[in-house]
């Protein structure tokens, strides 16, 4: 609280306020960091303070005066108002994805992907970008807590010194270290060091969103845990069973890139064909050529039938009708196929997939098996259950919880809360004073990944060194520092320990190699090699192939692999619990950007309704927002429902991660907490209640219509082969006058609908780059969301099994813009390079422009939203005006980037070079192409020459600078009734 008040003071005060200075302390990693002496930091923060006064926070009302606060000594590499970029990585459940953080005057303002990093290739997901707000989050805890009262670091040291003594006495008996999945060699080394010192100590790694099934399956098939790495660019036919390749699998960004490389027939010689079999809509299902809906029960049955027909050449059973052609297709594409099973499915299905892939000769081509980057318990869930059992049994005397929130995420049936009460000494290391922290005897604020040295491995094993981007804003200790407390020997500096570990890889050139590794964001030669493990011939012999329909092992109730689907005996209704596409397991719940990010398929924000099939809704007379009581055994949860076209009628889907109690001012009590229903085996009973919840969705009406071709054009590969220009409009509208912007440049954009997978990365990128406000649920309910870039989602076909389409929509920058000639004050006009310019400070707010915009891409500040943001002043992008109340705003093609490019080019008297928009940078599939149309060699010019190129609402005669490439799908001609 207090910290936020400080942050909200006027900049002049803030800049002189020592508390503020302390909070805003910044550091220079990379080359500078290696040399920078501590003094350097304090100087920069002054510079940073100055930078704020120097107009860092731009507003729409002019005010004279203010202060200028120059540094005492200018640190190296800092030039006022010029950005610095430092590589690091974003780690989720242990897996790293490379990012590059943009600093201005020493403060992080933007995160982008790291092109050098194999798991990113320059792309970045929503979590990675939202790190910016997590880093500045005013709700981050700054105080060490003993019980419920603040304590000093000294107290902690004191306590630990006698804890060390006690533990040493018992050889560490009763010491447990609970972490999320860890791939950081440094952390692992430290934990091992601790275990060397206390032989009895145990370390447990556990993530609520489990990937146990894969490991278990590998051990079934190959005798040991192996990770699978897909090469989607090599797969002609991709069969995804409840797949998460594009949504939550480690390496999803890379997969998305490879996937897209085979989807646009005007660019790829052989377009891939994608089959998806799934109970609930996923990203890959939404972009698949064939999406077959199969409830949990059917999935096992179908997979078994599939296995039978491929492995044993058994004749495929009659139903479902599409199975036979599918099998034929798979066999035909032998060696260039990939069958992928989602993490939510039981190990047995994974194992079958491994076997089928081998049988189809795909291994080494469309996928590789590698040694897991970091050793893991085969079944994390079992390990966790065991830990809690030990706690109950009182065997645990000292518990350290790092980067994990079991009180919120563990199945309630395990009784973690009670168990914790029986642990005499427990420490939580977390960013917020969260649910678990409140229950442990000690709480230590966890420094952000950007505030400490560390390292982590990518999905393929490649190591990235995480370098600090700033001094801890809110104090706090890193995992390394806390683990250091267990070691008698004073720990060396974290940087030193990280360096030491990688000295070998960077041998030969001591400093340079290190600096280069930091600069590039990867340590060369650390990717895991493909494993040569041989498939067990007798694989299927030793697991039951007579899987109880309703999917598998988990149903046996062992809190085994994934959060188990539950089958009710009566109506075979199954509850699927999945990670939230925005909040993951709940750790991002306090992030306003992610809370207000429309879920890819439902477009619901600030809520996590249960997804039910239209059929079920009809049967129970439910409409969106009606509340249902879901009860399993004695646990029950009341949650609103959302009718999800394409949902299997015999299952309902709930997203974990909402309903936090101690996430912070943003995330508390948003949505419903479904963890109480995890780990239960009983039947799920549905009871209708009388309550209703108003659900905020950015699609403000539930409507299912044929998408008019003037909006979104799509066809099949057959059509494309017949006529590559099938989507283009032949005729050109007559016109009275035509003003062609003079140039020199002509900015334009092309969006490839074949590439868009609806992952939302572009939306967050835009929000971060352009200082777009979060408005909150109440305002979204009143249809006042502010996103400049939205992804329209259209359904076509029947409600039960519709075909779905994604279409990113942003300002089209029409050359004959309807918005411009209705503005009475000329606040929106055209510039010579064809940009539809919105001059905020000229806008009086008549809103006529929005009424007259056929694409409805303009957003209006009904209130002073920018003033209501919880983010501190210095987190805004200083190059973009922060819009005031009563002002219209919209996509500018990232004009601040264009302006910088223009200025640089003009300064050196050369034509303007490449400009990349924020959405383009973030997009994992490179769906966006932006550039200079005047330069015929530019990529955007080339894409606009594509035979699939079309303009949205062409008939309006607005001549948009943003055009689309029509969507082409590649259905199997042998399968008639395609979808479902």
């Amino acid at each position: 609280m207090t910290s936020r008040e400080k942050l909200w003071r006027s900049l002049e005060q803030a800049a002189e306020d020592p508390a503020f200075l302390a909070h805003a302390a910044q550091e220079f990693p990379g080359l500078a960091a290696a040399l920078a002496e501590p003094l350097g930091r304090r100087q920069v923060l002054r510079l940073m303070a100055a930078s704020i006064a120097l107009g860092g926070l731009a507003g729409c009302d002019a005010k004279y005066g203010g202060n200028l606060i120059p540094a005492v000594t200018i640190p190296p590499n800092i030039i006022p108002a010029l950005p610095n970029f430092y590589a690091t990585a974003h780690v989720l459940d242990g897996y790293a994805s490379g990012v590059v953080v943009k600093h201005v005057m020493g403060r992080p303002v933007k995160v982008d992907g790291n092109p050098e990093h194999p798991a990113s290739l320059g792309a970045i997901d929503v979590y990675g970008q939202a790190q910016l707000l997590d880093f500045y989050d005013p709700d981050r805890s700054a105080e060490i807590m003993q019980g419920s009262s603040p304590a000093a670091l000294a107290n902690l040291d004191a306590v630990f010194s006698d804890q060390r003594a006690q533990l040493a006495a018992g050889h560490g008996a009763g010491l447990r270290i609970l972490t999320g999945s860890v791939t950081s060699p440094t952390v692992i080394a430290q934990i091992e060091a601790v275990q060397r010192q206390y032989p009895e100590a145990q370390s447990i790694q556990w993530d609520p969103i489990s990937r146990d099934a894969g490991r278990k399956a590998a051990s079934l098939a190959y005798g040991r845990a192996l990770d699978t790495i897909a090469h989607l660019d090599k797969a002609d036919v991709l069969l995804s069973i409840d797949g998460d390749l594009l949504s939550s699998a480690p390496g999803r960004l890379r997969y998305a890139r490879d996937f897209a490389s085979r989807r646009n027939p005007s660019r790829t010689a052989s377009m891939s064909r994608v089959y998806a079999i799934e109970p609930t809509p996923t990203l890959i299902g939404s972009v698949a050529d064939h999406r077959f809906i199969a409830g949990p029960a059917d999935i096992s049955r179908i997979t078994l039938a599939l296995a039978a027909s491929i492995l044993d050449n058994a004749p495929t059973t009659a139903e479902p009708g599409w199975l036979a052609p599918l099998v034929t297709d798979l066999k035909a594409a032998r060696g260039r196929v990939l069958m992928h099973v989602g993490a939510a499915q039981p190990p047995e299905l994974h194992a079958l997939a491994l076997q089928i892939n081998e049988a189809l000769g795909a291994r080494g081509v469309t996928y590789d098996l590698i040694e897991p980057p970091a050793p893991q318990a085969l079944l994390q869930a079992d390990a966790m259950a065991a830990l809690i059992a030990d706690m109950h049994a009182g065997k645990v005397r000292h518990l350290l919880i790092v980067d994990s929130n079991p009180l919120y995420t563990s199945p309630r049936s395990w009784g973690c809360a009670e168990a914790l009460k029986r642990v005499p000494f427990s420490v939580t290391l977390a960013r917020q004073y969260d649910e678990t922290a409140r229950a442990t005897t000690w709480f230590v604020p966890h420094s952000h990944d950007w505030e400490a040295w560390s390292d982590a491995r990518a999905y393929d094993g490649t190591v990235t060194v995480l370098q600090p981007q700033a001094l801890p804003l809110y104090g706090g200790l890193s995992a390394h520092q806390v683990l250091g407390l267990y070691l008698a020997a004073p720990p060396m500096s974290t940087e030193e320990s990280v360096r030491r570990i990688w000295a070998a890889n960077l041998a030969g050139h001591s400093t340079d190699g290190w600096s280069e590794a930091l600069a590039r964001g990867v340590i060369p030669g650390t990717a895991s090699a493909a494993s040569g493990a041989r498939l067990r011939s007798d694989l299927r012999a030793d697991f039951r192939t007579d899987l109880p329909s309703g999917a598998g092992a988990p149903a046996t109730g062992a809190p085994g692999t994934t959060i188990p689907p539950i089958t009710a005996p009566g109506d075979r209704l199954t509850l699927l619990l999945r990670a939230d596409p925005n909040l993951w397991d709940g750790r991002f719940a306090n992030n306003p950007w992610l809370q207000e990010l429309p879920r890819p398929l439902t477009k619901v924000v600030w809520d996590n309704p249960v997804l039910i099939a239209p059929a079920l809704a009809a049967r129970m007379q439910l409409t969106n927002g009606d509340c249902m009581r879901l009860s399993i055994d004695d646990a029950s949860v009341v949650a609103p429902v959302w009718i999800m076209p394409g949902q299997a009628p015999d299952c309902i889907t709930a997203l974990l991660g909402s309903g936090r109690r101690a996430a912070g001012s943003v995330g508390d009590d948003v949505g419903v907490d479904f963890y109480p229903l995890t780990g239960l085996t009983g039947a799920v009973a549905l009871g209708k209640t009388r309550d209703r919840v108003a659900l905020a969705s950015t699609v403000h009406h539930d409507l299912l219509m044929e998408t008019p071709s003037e909006i979104l054009r799509h066809g099949t590969l057959a059509q494309f082969h017949a006529d590559p220009h099938f989507a283009a409009t032949a005729h050109s509208e007559p016109h009275l006058y035509r003003t062609v912007p003079a140039g020199p440049a002509a900015w334009g954009m092309s969006i490839d609908l074949n590439a868009c997978i609806g992952c939302n990365a572009c939306i967050v990128a835009c929000q971060a780059e352009n200082n777009i406000s979060v408005v909150g649920k109440a305002q979204v309910l009143r249809e006042r969301e502010m996103h400049w870039l939205r992804i329209d989602r259209y359904f076509e076909g029947g409600v039960d099994a519709p075909e779905s389409f994604f279409q990113p929509v942003l300002c089209m920058h029409c050359e004959e813009a309807p918005c411009e000639n209705v503005c009475p004050v000329g606040a929106t006009v055209h510039d010579a390079e064809g940009l539809n310019v919105m001059v905020y400070n000229r806008c009086v707010g008549t809103r006529f422009c929005s009424n007259n915009c056929p694409y409805k891409v303009r957003r209006f500040n009904f209130y002073g939203y920018a003033r209501q943001q919880t983010r501190p002043a210095q987190s805004w992008n200083p190059d973009v005006t922060v819009r005031a109340r009563g002002v219209m705003e919209k996509c500018t093609y990232c004009i601040q980037r264009i302006a910088e490019a223009r200025i640089e080019a003009d300064r050196d008297s050369r034509p303007v070079g490449e400009v990349r928009t924020a959405c383009q940078n973030a997009c994992p599939t490179q769906a966006f192409t932006f550039g200079n149309l005047a330069d015929a060699t530019s990529l955007v010019a080339e894409r606009k020459r594509s035979s699939l190129n079309f303009a949205m609402l062409e008939g309006q005669g607005t001549r948009p600078r943003t055009t689309y490439e029509a969507l082409v799908r590649n259905p199997n001609p042998a399968i008639k009734a395609t979808r479902g």
């Binding site: 329209d792 004050v825 109340r885």
Partner: protein, 475 residues
């Protein structure tokens, strides 16, 4: 006194219209009236020492509503237009539609006082002042909306164009700017037109007034008008030309308001018929409001012998006519939509007529097209309760029509992904009611303190009718 033509009428026709129900063959002015009696009566209304009880009964609630307007505006400026129901697809709501509604009401007044002045319609004489007051306060009520509806109202002056330090001008292609200037012109012109017509009557009141205070007040308002030959000559000349200007101005402002919509490419707006369509609407609402005002006032002020059955008959006929014009416009709206063959237009129209806002649409049709048809009957044209209820319906109907044009058009834009709905908030309603209060308070003050019938024109009318009767009597 022998009144020719009376013998063919039923005997009670000789009774003063003040003592009997209105008749279609009433003279526009009761022959018993003389300049003196008429002048004295009208002046005595303005000069009453204390007001009628009914006046207070009407004025206090009106004033309360006007206060509500003040509160609403204060809160609006404090909090921002987010307090209204407007949203992403429906960026315009109550502010604009009420503005159009009020402008139409005001324009109706102008048409009666200016247009029919030019045509020399005698029945217009006694309604002139009421119509002009209606124009004035209607314009005032409308005039505040364009500024209120701005996101940053304190910058409204950017719509004037003048050499400023930014060297920026206005954007003259925008119908909104045309509208702004049409409104500025209309409001100022109304005031001048209204006041110039009042000057000779102020003189009459001045000369009837007792007590130095009233004498002085009305004396100042009369600006020393004494009815000299030169004054009459120039005043009549100026007034005539002003009327000749007001007529096209009132048509222009309503056409331009129509262009605010027709000038946009938005489905439901993008049609060339809007300018005349809006003028029809102005006529319809103007006539209904005038009827709503005169029917109680002729009784309460005892001027039935100046506002007679003939007036009711004529106004109802005009109301019926304009209703038919409006109906034609609605038909054309539907026709062009489907004839034009634009998908978005069709979808929007179907949504408008059959979906969420269908009651608004059909309410509009019922109130504006169907109900006024009763005025085909001469008997009902004189039945004051019927007239009042029909006119009330029409006034509501005209408001619904604007709701339909503004809101339902916007809630179904080209892209289905941008569809939405609109719901007014408390502050929308409070502002609307507030302007109603402001309008009524104004009218009531005018009724109380101004000569509510244009006496100098009535004197001329009385003289001419007398002359005519004298002639026909001789024949």
């Amino acid at each position: 006194m022998n009144i020719p033509g009376m013998n063919i009428a039923s005997p009670d026709a000789t009774m003063s219209p003040r003592l009997r129900a209105p008749r279609f063959d009433d003279p526009v002015v009761d022959p018993r009236l003389t300049s003196a009696s008429m002048t004295d009566r009208i002046c005595s209304i303005a000069l009453r020492s204390q007001s009628y009880p009914w006046w207070w009964l009407a004025f206090i609630p009106s004033m309360a509503l006007a206060m509500l307007l003040v509160v609403s505006i204060a809160y609006l400026f404090y909090a921002g237009i987010g307090i209204w129901g407007i949203n992403w697809p429906v960026m315009w709501g109550f502010a604009i539609l009420s503005y159009v509604w009020w402008i139409a009401i005001a324009s109706g007044g102008t048409i009666i006082s200016a247009l029919f002045f030019l045509t020399g319609a005698e029945w217009r004489t006694s309604l002139n002042r009421i119509a002009e007051s209606m124009m004035l306060f209607g314009a005032a009520a409308a005039g505040i909306y364009p500024i209120l509806h701005l996101g940053r109202p304190w910058f409204f002056y950017w719509l004037f164009f003048y050499p400023n330090t930014m060297t920026l001008w206005a954007q003259f292609r925008s119908p909104l700017l045309w509208d702004f200037w049409a409104l500025v012109t209309y409001v100022f012109a109304s005031i001048l037109f209204w006041f110039l017509g009042l000057v000779p009557d102020f003189a009459s009141v001045r000369d009837r007034a007792t007590g130095i205070a009233r004498q002085r007040i009305y004396g100042i308002l009369a600006c020393g008008f004494r009815g000299t030959g030169r004054q009459w000559l120039n005043l009549r000349a100026a007034y005539g030309v002003m009327a000749a200007i007001m007529a096209p101005v009132v048509v222009s402002i309503h056409s331009i308001v129509g262009l605010d919509f027709a000038g946009a490419a938005t489905p439901g707006w993008h049609t060339t018929e809007f300018p005349p369509f809006f003028v029809f609407g102005a006529l319809l609402s103007g006539f209904s409001i005038v009827l709503l005002l005169i029917i109680p006032l002729r009784r309460l002020l005892g001027i039935e012998d100046m506002v007679t059955g003939r007036h009711l008959d004529v106004l109802c006929k005009l109301l019926l006519t304009s209703s038919l014009c409006v109906s034609y416009a609605y038909l054309m709206d539907a026709f062009t939509t489907f004839y034009g063959g634009d998908r978005a237009e069709r979808v929007m129209f179907i949504e408008r007529a059959l979906e969420y806002y269908r009651y608004v649409y059909w309410g509009t049709v019922l109130f504006n097209c169907v109900l006024p048809q009763v005025f085909w009957s001469r008997r009902l044209r004189l039945n004051q309760p019927v007239i009042v209820s029909i006119c009330l319906c029409v006034v509501v109907g005209m408001w619904l029509e604007r709701y339909e044009i503004v809101v339902t058009s916007l809630h179904r834009p080209n892209l289905p992904s941008a569809w939405g709905t609109y719901h007014a908030t408390f502050w929308d309603w409070s502002t609307l009611l507030g302007t109603v209060g402001m309008f009524l308070s104004g009218i009531l003050l005018a009724v109380r303190y101004l000569p509510i019938v244009s006496m100098h024109e009535m004197r001329t009318l009385i003289a001419t009718t007398k002359a005519r009767n004298g002639v026909s009597g001789a024949a």
